[in-house]
Assembly symmetry: C2
Homo-oligomer: 423 residues x 2
């Protein structure tokens, strides 16, 4: 008998009907002979409604109380889900993050899991129960306060529990059929990916793919927990994310997993920086001290005549104001002429482990963009990813062009695969 | 510096505006130099909405999960209240029943408090915080499951915390101005009571007065915690409930505290019972085994010719079906002719410690009812209470007649007081 962890997002349990539908699916998994642990998010818009209430009573809700408030959402959905399962004649018990042993640090609103001690879950399973666990929440190790894990936290709860319970698989149920070769809203011919490696999934997640968050995939890779992303509205197989393809049939690994895009970033250019050691450090120390994460960085070639250079970097638009303020405040310490802020940029990324051994990929990527008339402003690469920054307006066309060029379109028979003809 | 426990009901925190108004009142108490612990109920209709959701997923929601669900309500209101207080520049921390050390037995949906270990509350207070505690909920001693205390549970939470923290007073804020000499919806001339003894309040509570529940008053009496029932919408003094009048000014204790009525009961008459030892025991053992609480009991004089008698008792209407079924099932064991069920009855009770020493009270009570043309069906008395059962339709008129007869009307100057002329 295997142990399966299933996670259902808010859209899957948006109302009583959704909860009953999910309950049936959970009971199916139990009938198939599995021990089943279910992680559930708050119903539909519950979290947004609670945030709205908080803003009505206080413009700056405090971390500890805000977490206490938000965790009410999962408390509701998990209790209802347990009731719905019991109504189908199966035993179920619900557990808060704290009861499930999800121990975190004390950083409210974006706590990190530091340990999982699922003793009560184990007992509930051994007694024949289906265990329902509140996603997104934990309890802090030092103060025993309720914490939340931040955006996408329920996925992380599911993977962390799967690791602590040594589960066979962590199934992430969502409102899409799986991970696609590109965002289907942009690329109509995007294909569902049957299997993708942790490495490629990590790159897609950090390049703008929204299906799984980086933190959750990172956790799964560390503990080698296979993830199965699938729809709660259909019975279809979704996308497996793991070290190696699961099961008997050989899945050929494509050279390219997919094309991701991201229009949530802005670009800041620090103009007229003295081209001498320590300047870049001064800039990025200023940014880091303001607790802003940056993404891509490019330093232009210095103009020999002036001894000055420009440094550009990208960061979330939401952090733009803070970064500009921090740099201006430290202008004399850093030494620069001016700042340019541009939030009309987009990032297109090509991801695939096959790049390592296929030197032609980079050239083909730039050719595709060039043929589509897309101008490139910044470039950054990893071993298995190429990203470029373009005008935001160019993003949809650029993504489609690249998707087609690498044979990813659903009507294409030219998918580039390992061990293929090398085309 | 004193320690004050305040309790706010759902109608006081029904929306963001209510929460902000309550926050201001709490801060006032803090500014007056008190340590302040606040017990809060769920916002307005939250609990009803959660119950409605539960019924949508399961016709018979299970106890453990139902408690988990309902406690989300207080989690929301307490976190919002803490935020609102912090927004006024004061420190506040919210605590679940479990965090506040409210330890209960394991009877879900109507758990009883068996211990309060408010270590975290004490620490929060010593650090200068206002402590906000979720009412109505606790954690079971043996299984560490979340429990709820049943109807009126938040009042009990407040009194129990006041006892454990040795508070000076437990203030129960509600949407009425205090305890009245009769229900003001029935008796327009009902007067607010300034002070009432625990004993009289207990009798009023068990006779149909809804302002405070019996369990909460019983708890306060056991630990000698003065209760101050008052409106959260005005700054007026409400009703003090305690052993002795509080403060300097001498409050004269009225012979009669008030008139309570109750139309939530039904009457069952067991007809044709053999008038021999053990018969009544057989009936009430049957009822007790069905876990039904009964109120008044009357056995008619036996008709000598038949050797048969009738036994009548009253019980909550909601238990009527169950009681009839239990008696029918055991008809041969008990031995009776038939059962009569009557849910068109009402109970009127006159309460006052002065009865003990004023033998004329009972006569005056019956005269008042007689003058109002009200027929009496059952009578029961305690040392400080007389109750009669009448037709439900007669109740309003009967209550008004008794209220006037004992000088309780607000325009009367004939209030009957100790040490008065004895009239």
């Amino acid at each position: 008998m295997g142990l399966v962890v299933q996670k259902y997002g808010g859209s899957s349990v948006a109302d009583a009907e959704g909860i009953k539908r999910v309950a049936k699916r959970i009971v199916e998994a139990k009938k198939n002979g599995n021990q089943v642990v279910v992680v559930v998010s708050a119903m539909g818009d519950t979290t947004d409604e609670l945030i709205d209430l908080a803003e009505q009573v206080s413009p700056m809700p405090a971390g500890r109380e805000f977490d206490m408030l938000l965790t009410a959402g999962e408390r509701i959905s998990m209790a209802l889900l347990a009731m719905a399962i019991k109504n189908l004649g199966h035993e179920a018990q619900s557990f808060t993050g704290s009861q499930a042993g999800v121990i975190t640090d004390s950083v409210h609103n974006k706590a990190r899991i530091i340990d999982v001690t699922p003793g009560r879950i184990r007992t509930a399973l051994d007694e024949g129960n289906i265990a329902i666990v509140a996603g997104f929440q934990g309890v802090s190790q030092d103060k025993k306060d309720i914490t939340t894990l931040g955006r996408g936290g329920s996925d992380t709860t599911a993977v962390a529990l799967a690791a602590a319970l040594d589960a066979e698989v962590c199934e992430i149920y969502t409102d899409v059929d799986g991970v696609f070769t590109a965002d289907p809203r942009v690329v109509k011919k995007a294909r569902k990916i049957d299997w993708i490696s942790f490495e490629d999934m990590l790159e897609l997640a950090s390049s703008g793919s929204k299906v799984l968050l980086h933190r959750c995939v990172e956790y799964a890779r560390r503990y080698n927990i296979p993830i199965h992303v699938r729809s709660s509205f259909s019975g279809l197989q979704g996308t497996w994310v793991s070290n190696e393809p699961i099961g008997d049939k050989q899945v050929e690994q494509a050279i390219i997993s997919g094309v991701a895009h991201d229009t949530s970033e802005a670009k800041i250019t620090v103009v007229g920086v003295p081209d001498k050691p320590g300047e870049a450090a001064a800039i990025f120390r200023t940014i880091a001290d303001a607790e802003i994460n940056i993404d891509m960085v490019v330093q232009n070639v210095s103009a020999a005549s002036t001894g000055l250079t420009d440094i550009s970097f990208t960061l979330p638009k939401t952090e733009g104001r803070k970064a500009i303020d921090a740099l201006e405040k430290n202008r004399s310490g850093i030494g620069f002429d001016s700042l340019r802020y541009d939030d009309q940029i987009g990032k297109i990324s090509l991801v695939g482990a096959g790049m390592k051994t296929n030197p032609g990929v980079t050239a083909a990527f730039f050719e595709a963009l060039s043929n589509a008339g897309v101008n490139i402003e910044l470039i950054s690469t990893s071993e298995i990813r190429i990203s470029v920054v373009t005008r935001a307006d160019d993003v949809p066309e650029a993504v489609r062009a690249v998707h087609t060029a690498f044979g990813l379109d659903s009507d294409s028979d030219e998918a580039v695969v390992y061990g293929g003809t090398g085309r």
